[in-house]
Symmetry: C2
Subunit: 352 residues, 2 copies
C-alpha cells in the first residue's frame, strides 16, 4: 500500500505575484509545464491575495494543488494514488531515484527562472507509522517495519516499533524514548567515564525502560532505587526492549537495586520526611521542553522535580538529567552545592 506526496516550492519576487498580469504569465508557464505531465486544470479559486488551482490527470490518480502566496512563494503539492506511478516509481532506491520529480523541479526552475526547492517525498499509507516529530515540531523519518507492542496505560500510550537500524524503539504518547541501539544516549546521561558510581546510592526518577538501570548496575553501586509510575512501560520493555534493559527488569528487587512502581514525587516526599539521601539522582522522566524561557505547565513540573531532587541529595550529591539544546552548550549535571548549569539555574531562580 502506498501513496506519495511531493512538495515543490517556487520562490519568485513578491512584486511578480502581486501584479495580476505578471502572476498570470508565471502561473501559465507553470501550468504549461504540468500539462506535459498530463495534469490539467480542473478548478480555480481566485483569492484576495492570489489564486489556487487544482489540476489532475484524467483518471484523478495524480493530482496537484498550485497556490500563490503573498510573499512571492508559489507552492505545488503533488499527490498520487496507488494507480499512479509518477511519484511511486521514483521512490525506489535505484539510480533512477527521483528522476521524475527532480526533472519536474528542473523544468519549473527553468520556467520561472528562480529558486525551486523540493521537499523529499512523503510516503503515506505505511503499515507502521514512520514519521515522528521532535518536541519543537521538526520531522523525523524512520525505517520502522513492525509494530511490536501497543497499549494504553492509565498514563500514556505505550508503543514499541522495530527498526532494522535501531532495533526495538519505545514511544510514549508518540514521543521517541529509547531504542535498543541508544547505548550512547544512556552513557551520555551517566557521563560515562567521567563519574564513578562504585558504592554510591542512586535514585532514578522514571527510567522505566531499564536502560539506565542496566548500565548503572554494571558500575557496582551500593544501591539503586528506581521509581517509575507506569507498570505497563516496565512490563513492555522487559519483554521487548531487552537490548536496552537486558535482565535488569526481570526481577524488581535484587541485592543492590529495587524497582518501585509509583509516583516519584510522592516517593521523594517520603524520603524528605525520612531524611533519606542519595549520592546521585537521575531524572529520566519526560523530555524537558525546548524553550528560551522556562514557562508553562511542563516547566513547572520540571522545576518541581529538580527542586525536590536537590532536597534528597547528600551535600556533595549530584543531579543528572537529559536536556535538549538549541545549540548552546548546556550542562546536564547539577551539583548540590554549585548549581552551575545555565538552564537549571534559570529554572531555579526565584524559587526561594
Amino acid at each position: 500500500m502506498s501513496a506519495n506526496t511531493s512538495l515543490l516550492d517556487l520562490y519568485l519576487d513578491a512584486t511578480i505575484i502581486a501584479n495580476p498580469v505578471e502572476r498570470s504569465t508565471v502561473i501559465q508557464n507553470i501550468v504549461n509545464v504540468l500539462k506535459e505531465y498530463s495534469l490539467d486544470k480542473k478548478y480555480e479559486i481566485k483569492m484576495s491575495d492570489g489564486v489556487l488551482l487544482l489540476l489532475t490527470v484524467e483518471n484523478g490518480s495524480l493530482s496537484a494543488v498550485l497556490r500563490t502566496h503573498l510573499n512571492g512563494l508559489i507552492t505545488l503539492t503533488l499527490e498520487e494514488g496507488s494507480s499512479s506511478s509518477f511519484l511511486t516509481n521514483i521512490c525506489s532506491s535505484n539510480e533512477k531515484v527521483l528522476q521524475g520529480v527532480e526533472e519536474l523541479r528542473k523544468r519549473l526552475n527553468k520556467a520561472v527562472q528562480k529558486r525551486v526547492d523540493r521537499i523529499p517525498i512523503l510516503k503515506r499509507g505505511l503499515e507502521v507509522p514512520n514519521y515522528f516529530s521532535s518536541s519543537d515540531e521538526r520531522i523525523f523519518e524512520y525505517d520502522f517495519d513492525k509494530l511490536v507492542f501497543q497499549a494504553d496505560s492509565p498514563f500514556q500510550n505505550v508503543k514499541i516499533l522495530h527498526s532494522p537500524t535501531f532495533g526495538n524503539t519505545l514511544f510514549l504518547d508518540d514521543l521517541q524514548n529509547l531504542a535498543e541501539s541508544d547505548l550512547s544516549y544512556t552513557h551520555g546521561l551517566m557521563k560515562y567515564g567521567e563519574l564513578s558510581y562504585k558504592d554510591q546510592e542512586i535514585l532514578i526518577l522514571g527510567g522505566g525502560d531499564g536502560g539506565l538501570l542496566h548500565e548503572l548496575l554494571k558500575e557496582k553501586p551500593k544501591f539503586i532505587t528506581m521509581v517509575d509510575i507506569d507498570q505497563l512501560v516496565v512490563d513492555a520493555c522487559r519483554e521487548h526492549l531487552r537490548g536496552a534493559c537486558f535482565d535488569s527488569l526481570d526481577k524488581l528487587k535484587g541485592d543492590n537495586y529495587e524497582v518501585i512502581i509509583g509516583d516519584c514525587v510522592k516517593k521523594m516526599d517520603e524520603y524528605m520526611k525520612e531524611g533519606k539521601m542519595f549520592d546521585f539522582v537521575f531524572s529520566d522522566l519526560t523530555d524537558i521542553p525546548i524553550a528560551t524561557e522556562p514557562e508553562g505547565e511542563l516547566w513547572k513540573f520540571v522545576k518541581k522535580i529538580v527542586t525536590m531532587a536537590l532536597q534528597v541529595l547528600k551535600p556533595r550529591g549530584r543531579f543528572l538529567s537529559h536536556l535538549s539544546s538549541k545549540g548552546e552548550d548546556q550542562d546536564t549535571m547539577l551539583d548540590r552545592q554549585q548549581p552551575r548549569s545555565q538552564p537549571f539555574r534559570k529554572l531555579l531562580e526565584g524559587n526561594g
Copy 2:
C-alpha cells in the same frame, strides 16, 4: 514568510472504501468534521477507484484535498497561505503547539473509528532550504538560518548553510557533506584512538572540506597528500568551514602535507607507474550508495577507487572509507592483505 502543509492519513478497512455506500458515509463524516473548520467542499472528482475532494475556507486561505485510495487509506492534505493562521499558530513552540491540527486528528479519529496518523507539519517558504534527504530519500529537517555561501563549480553545486546547532554545514549538490560540529564523524572515519598515524604516509582521496586533513595533521604523520578535484570546495571551506578545517587549508603545502587540486584517479595512476605507495589511503569522496547489491554507475566508480587504492597501498597498508549501513555492522577498513570487510569483499569479487 510562511506557508504550512499538514498531512493526515486515515486508515480504514479496504472493504469500506471499496463499497460506494459505506465510502460515502465515511467521506460525509469527514466532510462534516472539516465543515466545523469552515472548510467547504468546492470540487469533487469521481475516480475509477474512489473520490477526490477539494475543500477550502471562503477566502481560500486554507485548503484541503481529501482523497481515497484503493487499500482503505484516505489522505487529507491541508495547506494554508500567509493570511491563514490555523496551521501557522500551532507551529509556535509554546505549550499550545499543535493544539489545532492535533485536535482535528482526534476528531477525525473519532469520526472514522480507526487509526489516523499525523505527519509533522511541513514549513514552506523558508528563507533558507531546511529539508534535505538521505541517499535513500528519507527526509531530514534542519534549523539552518542563513545561506553563507553558494556557487556552482564545473563539478557540482557548492552550498554552505549556517545552523545554530551544527555550525556551518557543507552541501555538495544538496547532499550533506560535513558540518563544523561533525568532529565525531571525522574521528569515526579515522578510527580515532584505534589506529596510529604517527610517521605514516597518508593519501586522502577527496576530503576538500579539510576536516580529515586537520585531524590527521594533529597525529604527527610523516606526510599527507590530499587530492581533491574541486578548487571551489577547498576555497569555500577555507573561508566558511573553519570549525572543521581550521588553518589546514590556509596553505596548500607545508612541511608534512600537500593539497593537490586534481583528479585522484589520474593521480593514483601516476603513483602506480612511479611505484609510490602509502601506509593509509582514505576515500573521502562521494557517499557510497545504500544498496543490497553493488550495481550501477556509482558503484562502478566506488569499485574503481577501491581497486586502485589497493594498488598504491604498502603491503601492510590500510584503506579507510565511510559507509552507510542498513543496520548490519559494516567494517569501514580494508586491510591490504586481508580484505575482510563484507561490503568491500562483495564489491571486489570478480574483479580478477
